[in-house]
């Protein structure tokens, strides 16, 4: 990775983190639970990641600065660590069904949505599926 790509990844990741904090705050203002806000953010980011990765691959633009910025933004927007912590807190406070549900929804949902994102992109651009 070039110095330019490193800087773009770092800054776009920082922007993704800031947007996540604002989005989470908006969820909390609407009275949603913080842990499901983080879950929704991760699922949305995975859907977009599938589409962006598919778009970059279909144009042969994987290493371009635009693709690097988009992927960096989504990598910063989503967070594995906060989700892990939510699951562990649910588990140690004896809300174990919810802990398992949150983990299952995050893992299975994010992989499924990344696949769906790639599929939608191919359907829209008419590329091979």
């Amino acid at each position: 990775m070039s110095a330019e790509a490193l800087a773009v990844t770092a800054l776009s990741g920082g922007v993704g983190c800031a947007l996540r904090v604002l989005a989470r705050d908006a969820f909390l203002r609407r009275g949603r639970e913080a842990r499901w806000a983080t879950c929704a953010i991760n699922l949305a980011g995975s859907l977009a990641m599938g589409a962006v990765a598919g778009a970059a691959a279909s144009r042969g633009a994987e290493g371009s600065l635009g693709a690097t910025a988009a992927l960096g933004l989504l990598a910063g927007w989503t967070t594995y660590s906060a989700c892990c912590m939510d699951v562990v807190v649910l588990w140690v406070t004896y809300r174990r069904t919810r802990a398992v549900a949150l983990w299952a929804v995050t893992l299975a949902g994010s992989v499924t949505l990344a696949a769906v994102g790639g599929w939608i992109l191919r359907a829209v651009t008419g590329g091979p599926s």
């Binding site: 920082g14 990765a53 906060a82």
Partner: protein, 154 residues
């Protein structure tokens, strides 16, 4: 993370700025790990698994150090005066370091046709080892910081 109700509506913009600063550093650290993996000829999904497991352990320890507990010792949330630290290091640095979207994309590619065993290993590392690391970090942090973890919310 679990937060107290009074967090709602408190300085979202300044906390977002703090998360930007931490997230930029965390994202740079993730990119450097990816670069090191690529230079060593190791697969990119391995870099994501490593940053996720390390970040999970770190957030467990951080949360144990910052969280307020009720009289029974159960975690109830981050007190307002520790929220900047939590956003700089937790939501920012560790949020930028770790990634769910990258992991999801890795697993899509691996399941669709990666080397045999790679998908299973990636699922085990992110699905089980990361969670165990977070719980271990939480226990280790509570042991190191018993005084702060007895703090009250107000």
């Amino acid at each position: 993370m679990t937060h107290a109700p009074e967090e709602r509506g408190r300085w979202p913009w300044s906390l977002a700025a703090v998360a930007f600063a931490g997230g930029t550093c965390g994202s740079l650290a993730r990119a450097l790990v990816q670069q090191a993996f690529a230079a060593a000829g190791l697969p990119g999904w391995g870099a994501h698994a490593v940053v996720n497991v390390v970040g999970a352990f770190a957030i467990g320890a951080l949360f144990a150090a910052l969280v307020a507990r009720d009289p029974r010792g159960e975690p109830v949330g981050i007190p307002p005066d520790r929220r900047v630290r939590e956003h700089l290091l937790g939501a920012g640095f560790l949020g930028g370091l770790t990634t769910v979207s990258g992991l999801a994309q890795d697993l899509c590619v691996l399941v669709a046709g990666g080397p045999s065993g790679a998908a299973a290993l990636a699922i085990a590392l992110n699905g089980i080892v990361g969670l165990a690391a977070c719980a271990a970090g939480f226990r280790a942090g509570a042991r190191v910081c018993p005084r702060t973890s007895r703090a009250t919310l107000r």
